[in-house]
């Protein structure tokens, strides 16, 4: 039991900090390349996105310092109030927010904007950790499952109301946390099955799909012990699947046409490269044309000449791919992978359940962002507009990821001082 008198950097995990700094710096450089303006060639030019990103990075570092200074017990204690505050701001933004291209998720203060949905990520991760770390909580209990689901579903619902589908989807990543804390692996499997069903429901006629499912269920039942329990299990699974199929079909048919088109393009049902699929196609071209070592810094034509849309935010990975080639993309992916595995390692060495569960929350959120963001640029995931952590341009997202990660770093640094 030592006291932390050797300053705020004592016991912090430098590997995570270094990877964080690397990713943030690389992101900054790539933002510079993606929206480079010859008339404002200084990377510090505040009229340009790269100059602004410098400010976001500076303030993020300040936030990181503040987080490290605050006492380690503070975070667990403040979880619930913070979460409720974020939820209130999510409601408030529906009334007082500014509408930006169809979604009402921003508070605007002049040039400066804040997106509460971004902050809901770490707040929810904290509350989930707080709730599940209680001594008498068991994941196998129905009550626990229900309360956990409510904790996750509330922000999802509010964010969906803001019309920020992409951000809302991120919260499904918490299923990994629940799994780690004892949720049956079947739920994870069920999640995968649900995704497969979701895609199949869009590709195949629903009646044929349901008939096929009925036949599969029947065959499975023949090979299982013919108990009434198994029958009920299979039957309820079948009913559940049919319900998913019907609801997906219903939802799809009630989507707005541009959303429908995005899904169609992702599924390969439509290949209209000049329209909805244009994003994916152009980002594939940008990345694919990078080759092994890339076209060189500031030489990427696809991103610089606007063939790739939103090249500084959601499609920043294209600039990496085009200018730095496979060498660049591999470095980024591997850095993220090291960070993710490091977080898992750190999670498992925590004495406090709160810290462990929170760490898994951090890993889940980062993993979801990485896989969907990179996946969409290389055509392996649907085009869901979510940023690449630490990389993409934007204050709210960089702040939120910084807070997310540095609370973990603080908790980890504090771990030795916690009484179990």
């Amino acid at each position: 039991m030592r006291k932390s008198q050797q300053g705020i950097f004592k016991n912090i995990d430098w590997l995570m900090v270094i990877i964080y700094l690397l990713l943030v710096t690389m992101g900054w450089i790539n933002i510079y390349a993606s929206v480079f303006n010859e008339d404002h060639y200084l990377i510090t030019d505040l009229t340009q996105k790269y100059g602004k990103q410098m400010i976001w990075i500076g303030t993020s570092l300040l936030l990181a310092l503040i987080i490290l200074v605050i006492d380690g017990n503070f975070y667990a204690a403040v979880s619930w109030p913070l979460w409720i505050l974020v939820l209130l701001s999510l409601i408030a933004v529906l009334f007082f927010g500014t509408e930006v291209s169809g979604s009402k998720s921003w508070f605007r203060f002049g040039e400066f904007g804040i997106q509460p949905a971004e902050f809901a990520k770490f707040a929810t991760a904290m509350v989930l950790a707080k709730y599940l770390s209680q001594l008498n909580i068991k994941m196998t209990e129905v009550k626990t499952k229900i309360i956990s689901s409510i904790i996750i579903a509330l922000p999802i619902g509010l964010i969906l109301l803001e019309n920020e589908t992409g951000v809302a989807l991120v919260f499904f990543a918490f299923i990994l946390v629940l799994y780690r804390e004892g949720l049956s692996g079947n739920f994870l499997l069920l999640g995968v099955v649900a995704i497969v069903l979701f895609i199949l429901a869009l590709l195949i006629n629903k009646t044929i799909l349901i008939i096929a499912l009925a036949i599969i269920s029947a065959i499975l039942f023949l090979f299982m012990r013919k108990t009434s329990q198994n029958f009920i299990l299979l039957f309820s699974l079948f009913v559940l699947s049919s319900a998913i199929i019907y609801s997906v079909d219903y939802a799809y048919n009630h989507l707005q046409s541009h959303q429908k088109k995005r899904i169609d393009v992702f599924l390969g049902k439509e290949s209209d490269i000049k329209k909805a699929g244009y994003n994916v196609n152009q980002s594939l071209i940008a990345i694919g044309s990078g080759g092994l070592t890339g076209k060189g810094f500031l030489n990427g034509t696809q991103t610089k000449y606007d063939f790739v849309p939103e090249q500084s935010t959601d499609f920043i990975f294209c600039t990496v791919g085009e200018e730095w080639g496979f060498a660049g993309t591999a470095v980024v992916i591997i850095l993220f992978l090291i960070l993710l595995l490091r977080i898992l390692f750190i999670a498992e060495r925590q004495r406090s359940s709160f810290s462990r569960i929170y760490a898994y929350g951090v890993a889940s959120i980062l993993f979801f962002h990485l896989s969907v963001n990179v996946g969409m640029t290389i055509g392996l995931a649907p085009v869901i507009g979510i940023p690449l952590p630490f990389f993409s341009y934007g204050g709210s997202s960089l702040w939120s990821f910084t807070i997310l990660l540095f609370i973990l770093i603080k908790l980890d640094a504090y771990r030795l001082e916690i009484l179990r």
Binding site: L176, K274, G288, Y305, D306, I334, L341
Partner: protein, 613 residues
């Protein structure tokens, strides 16, 4: 808890698996697959063709015949088109709103991002009006290109015209790309490679809105356009224009050649048209009109129409007779208003008889040349039978450049026709014909077909006493001003030079006191021969061939006026005027000139149409 902490491996496994899949995918699209590089280039590189200026064409005295005029194409990039005042826009360029909608649709169908022609070849006035307002019409811009212009408005058939390449041309020749221009007829076609020059290529980088972003790799792959070569035509613009005036309201052809080098001085086909009609926006409409015109203005009679040479062919027969040693200057044959051997057929007009060779030429005695023809073909000392005799005769005829293409430098030239032995064998049966069967050949009738160009070339051979240069229309290419080398080669006839004197004497006689006195000039010895080409469809065609002066001939001319009747009526005066115009640049017989300029010779077809109206 131990069992649960094992789950970190599952979660870590998922992380590793997804990252591995992504790395594989990235390796595949970035390193293994090259197609994305190509797509990236297609995105960002614009290959801009630099069009060279097409070569100019001058006449033999330096008068400009063909030049380039700037034209303005209105281009549109549909994506960049913002809300504009459509009404104002349509009014400015002179189209209707429906047309505007249709054209925008077409442009969008081509591409929203790339430019395409919205309205081609705006007039200078429209361009000027538009230029002031262009800033209001975002997405539109004007591209300049050149159009051919024919300032003298003459020699439409000879100069030809240019048009956009079609799919067939593009498939056959990789030089041409969609939208390129190519010579379709005349000099524009036959000298296409010299005139077109060489296209240049500029590779430019553009952004997604097609805005230029600088040269690709500082222009190391760019090439400069090379202008086309200028041509000097052998035509005399003045003579050509004069000939076209003489032939107006008549159907026929005039070809004038300088015998000393084969340069075509004038090549006229009537009726003609203004070459500027086949340029610019109205081209298709005008072409359609000309194409449907019953008088066939697009048909180049000078090179493509077959006429029986008529009496002019007697010159060749006389020469062959001499060469074959069966006819001599002093040879005299009787005439009884016709060929006595065949009971007075073919008929002849009244004249003193018997006559010697020059006299027979001057008076154009039919009977005389029937005798000559028979003595050639039926020369059994030399030729075992009529077939051998005929083939020998035919070879002489071909050596004058008829019955085969003479390979002038204009497209569409036709070979003419001199019947083969096989033709007669088929027509009359083997051994079914003899010299008397085909005796009409002796006076240039029968199955003979000769183009006006070939007629003029025959005169050149006679003027030169036994050789000709292939007639050609371009005497100088590029800075060297040399014609194509093949046009500097003499082609010899099978007739020795000494045999030409009696014939030329006869031709001089024809002009001085015979059938062609209308072509007589003071102080210049003109040698000529009339002809009347039989026309089974109507009134006979009037033919005249001549050269002058007798010593060191400067011009050989062939005139053919369809349905002009007896040669002396139209063809001889016109031929005489052409010679005088060229040699003296003035006219000594204004009355005759007036009569010719104002004369109307309706073609038989037209006459019939008039009668039925």
């Amino acid at each position: 808890m131990n069992t649960l902490s094992g789950r970190k491996l599952v979660i870590g496994g998922i992380f590793v698996a997804v990252c591995a899949i992504y790395l594989l995918r990235l390796f595949f699209i970035q390193v293994m697959d090259d197609s994305y590089k190509l797509s990236a280039n297609n995105n960002v590189l614009r290959y801009m063709t630099e069009y060279p200026a097409r070569g100019l064409v001058y006449d033999r005295y330096g008068t400009l015949l063909v030049y380039n005029e700037v034209a303005y194409d209105l281009m549109v990039t549909p994506r960049q088109v913002k809300v504009i005042d459509t009404l104002d826009f349509c009014k400015t360029i002179g189209i209707k709103k429906e047309q505007f909608i249709k054209k925008m649709k077409q442009a969008k169908a081509y591409s929203s991002y790339k430019e395409s022609a919205f309205e081609k070849q705006l007039s200078k006035e429209t361009y000027a009006a538009l230029q002031e307002k262009l800033y209001k019409f975002k997405g539109f811009f004007v591209q300049t290109r050149t159009l051919r212009k024919y300032p003298q408005e003459i020699a439409a058939h000879t100069l030809g015209y240019v048009g956009e390449v079609n799919d067939k041309i593009i498939a056959a020749n990789s030089y041409y790309k969609l939208g390129d221009y190519i010579g379709i007829s005349g000099i524009e076609k036959s000298y296409e490679e010299e005139l077109r020059g060489k296209k240049g290529l500029k590779i430019q980088m553009v952004d997604v809105f097609n805005r230029p972003k600088g040269r690709f790799k500082d222009g190391i792959y760019d090439t400069l356009a090379v202008s086309g070569q200028n041509l000097v035509s052998s035509l005399s613009a003045k003579l050509q224009k004069y000939g076209e005036q003489l032939l107006q309201n008549k159907t026929g052809a005039i070809v004038a050649i300088d015998p000393s080098n084969g340069e075509i001085l004038a090549s006229i086909s009537g009726p003609s048209y203004n070459p500027n009609l086949l340029v610019g926006r109205e081209r298709t409409k005008n072409y359609g009109k000309l194409f449907l015109d019953k008088s066939l203005p697009l048909f180049n009679r000078a090179l493509m129409a077959y006429y029986p040479p008529g009496s002019t062919f007697k010159l060749i027969n006389g020469l062959i007779g001499e060469q074959e040693q069966v006819t001599f200057r002093e040879t005299r044959y009787p005439c009884a208003r016709g060929y006595p051997v065949m009971g007075g057929k073919p008929k002849c007009h009244p004249h003193p008889s018997p006559m010697d060779l020059p006299g027979a030429v001057s008076t154009s005695c039919n009977s005389y040349f029937c005798y000559v023809f028979r003595s050639i073909i039926d020369n059994r000392k030399k030729y075992a039978n009529v077939v051998e005799g005929y083939n020998a005769w035919r070879n002489y005829v071909l050596s004058f450049g008829i019955g085969k293409k003479i390979h002038t430098d204009l497209p569409q030239e036709l070979p003419g026709n001199v019947p083969t032995q096989a033709y007669y064998d088929k027509y009359f049966g083997k051994n079914g014909w003899k010299s008397s069967t085909i005796v009409s050949l002796s006076i240039g009738q029968g199955e003979l077909g000769v183009t006006p160009l070939q007629m003029a070339n025959i005169i050149c051979s006679i003027a030169n006493k036994g050789f000709y240069y292939t007639p050609h229309i371009v005497k100088g290419i590029g800075p060297k001003k040399e014609p194509r080398p093949e046009y500097k080669i003499r082609h010899y006839t099978k007739i020795a030079p000494e045999y030409f004197e009696p014939i030329i004497d006869g031709m001089q006689g024809a002009v001085d006191h015979g059938t062609s006195t209308a072509a007589r000039l003071k102080d210049i010895v003109v040698c000529g021969k009339t002809g009347t080409a039989q026309n089974p469809h109507g009134k006979d065609h009037s033919v005249f061939i001549a050269f002058a002066p007798r010593e060191n001939p400067k011009i050989a001319v062939a005139v053919l006026v369809e349905n002009g009747g007896w040669g002396a009526t139209w063809a001889v005066p016109i031929g005489g005027l052409m010679i005088e115009k060229y040699l003296r640049d003035s006219i000594s017989k204004p009355d005759m000139e007036k009569r010719m300029l104002e004369g109307i010779v309706l073609s038989t077809e037209k006459k019939k149409a008039k009668e039925t109206e």
